[in-house]
């Protein structure tokens, strides 16, 4: 088991991670997962606003990033096409032993595996805004993911004091799917004027003890992220129950509706 890991460690003199993908997730990941003993390379088309730390290194181009990385975190949820492009470039540049820990909320590890040459090192994880900071990370594997890759990914999260939960490889995973469906339902209720935003949030917090109201939670997550998951669930299952609320689409586009539904 530990063989693959040992090999990786001897090849890589210093511990380095690469992170790329959706900007809000990128920021949250850098804030929460940066560590003194790990170099975190950020590959993105523009420099994200993150707290300055010496071991956070930004680069617009992969060429300036070392090839031997312990792990690559791919955090794209909003565009499956962009995710595939990123994975293809990562494969061209990085050593084939580097783990690819890829957000698999809006596309499955299975679907991603079909586009890469070395799918044995791809592991899916539940990268979703507001959930990254919490105590548990969902992991999933593709048909070709090797056990030692999965174990190595589990160990990386363990180092961050995270519990992991291995679930079946499915769009939305567990928590993002439940959460996005709750927010989508709140959007339907809001557009039908069942209640104001404030009253919907108050009702869900006081009536069922939710940690946050679905409207405020949606704002923190970003409605484009919620829409991406709902669209992916809708496309994957063909079920009407996952169709995004028209209001969710508007908010995801960035229409400024602040004030319109205020209590």
């Amino acid at each position: 088991m530990g063989m693959a890991q040992k090999k990786r460690k001897t090849k890589t003199p210093e511990k380095s991670f690469l992170v790329c993908g959706d900007e809000p997730l990128l920021k949250a990941f850098c804030e929460h997962y940066s560590r003194a003993d790990v170099n975190m390379y950020i590959w993105h088309n523009k420099k994200p606003e993150v707290s300055k730390r010496s071991n956070l290194v930004y680069s617009r181009s992969l060429a300036r990033i070392p090839k031997n990385l312990i792990a690559i975190f791919e955090l794209t949820n909003t565009s499956p096409a962009q995710k595939i492009k990123n994975l293809e470039q990562i494969e061209k540049h990085c050593a084939k032993e580097s783990l690819i820990i890829s957000s698999s909320v809006s596309s499955t590890v299975t679907a991603q595996s079909a586009h890469v040459r070395y799918p044995q090192r791809i592991i899916g994880f539940s990268a979703f805004p507001t959930l990254l900071e919490n105590d548990l990370v969902e992991l999933s594997r593709g048909p070709l993911t090797q056990n030692d890759a999965l174990k190595a990914a589990g160990e990386i999260f363990f180092d961050y004091h995270k519990e992991v939960s291995l679930i079946d490889d499915r769009i939305g995973m567990v928590m993002p799917r439940i959460l996005c469906c709750l927010i989508n339902e709140a959007m339907f209720a809001l557009q039908e004027e069942v209640a104001s935003m404030g009253d919907i949030d108050t009702a869900m917090k006081l009536g069922t003890n939710y940690p946050q109201g679905p409207v405020e939670w949606g704002e923190q997550i970003g409605f484009d992220q919620v829409l991406a998951i709902m669209e992916a669930l809708h496309a994957d299952t063909g079920e009407d129950r996952y169709r995004p609320a028209p209001l969710l689409r508007k908010l995801a586009i960035g229409t400024d509706l602040s004030g319109r539904f205020l209590a």
């Binding site: 439940i178 209640a195 006081l206 009536g207």
Partner: protein, 282 residues
């Protein structure tokens, strides 16, 4: 007889509402067709108030004062001088409509009739009276003496004055009112549906097991309880019947479709904590 609140139905919800009104300083007439139900209700209220004393939330004097404010009766006409009557009878339309018609005949013109329904239409109940503008939903959550939320439901004809009066009353009860339109499930019972529905689908599709889904929802989502623990607490039969009711009332909108696992559990009498076994064993 100013500020006397009538409560109809001495079950769990009616008792809780009577207690809340009495503790807030209102005179209460608690009505039920069965004297035995009224006796049980007073015992339940006494127990609740004793527990509140143990938790230093109430003094012995306050308990005695509150209890003295509650009058029980099996005589419907005793409700005559109530300014507001909160109906918490069995969740059946014919029963509630009958009560609303009798109240409409009995009460003064200004009095408000509120219903604690969780699933019936306030508009339909209002239409059973000649005062639909003074009919409103007042949906308390169980246990009513602890849960802070009250959903106020405006029927099509409910007036702004009625909404304002009941909003103030709810606040005087020490509760937090939210206002909802008269749509199936109102706010909470509607928006919470995916919490259970998606969890059941994830289980049915084999994405993860019961324990695993609950663990993820608590540790990744920060929820206090997982969906399966919560269904066991609520009662799988109750949760299933709310799911079916919302689904039927929305003319089979697929977002609210119940799951076969729910029916199977109910068929097997695995209803959760109350039967000792549901998704978990107790």
């Amino acid at each position: 007889m100013a500020n006397v609140i009538g409560v109809i139905g001495a079950g769990t919800m009616g008792s809780g509402i009577a207690q809340v009104a009495a503790v807030a300083g209102y005179g209460v007439i608690l009505y039920d067709i069965e004297a035995a139900a009224l006796n049980r209700s007073i015992m339940q209220i006494e127990n609740n108030l004793t527990k509140a004393i143990e938790k230093n939330k109430l003094t012995i004097e306050e308990k005695e004062t509150a209890l003295a404010k509650i009058k029980t009766s099996v005589d419907f006409s005793q409700l005559k001088y109530c300014t507001t009557v909160i109906e918490a009878a069995a969740e059946r339309l014919d029963i509630k409509q009958g009560i609303f018609q009798r109240l409409d005949d009995l009460l003064s013109h200004e009095s408000i009739i509120a219903t604690n329904t969780s699933s019936l239409s306030v508009t339909v109940l209002g239409a059973a009276t000649r005062r639909p503008d003074r009919v409103i939903g007042m949906h308390f959550f169980n246990p009513a003496h602890i849960m802070k939320l009250v959903e106020l439901i405006k029927g099509i004809e409910t007036s702004q004055t009625t909404i304002s009066r009941i909003t103030s009353l709810t606040k005087e009860f020490g509760k937090t009112p939210v206002l909802a339109s008269d749509t199936p499930g109102f706010i909470v019972n509607r928006i919470a549906r995916p919490f259970y529905g998606e969890a059941l689908r994830l289980l049915g599709e084999g994405v993860a097991g019961v324990d695993e889904i609950d663990r993820i929802v608590k540790k990744s989502g920060g929820f206090k309880m997982g969906p399966f623990e919560l269904m066991d607490l609520i009662g799988i039969d109750i949760n299933f019947s709310v799911s079916k009711s919302v689904y039927e009332q929305f003319f089979h909108e697929p977002r609210y479709r119940p799951h076969p696992i729910q029916r199977q559990m109910v068929d097997a009498n695995l209803l959760g904590r109350k039967t000792g076994k549901g998704f978990y064993e107790y």
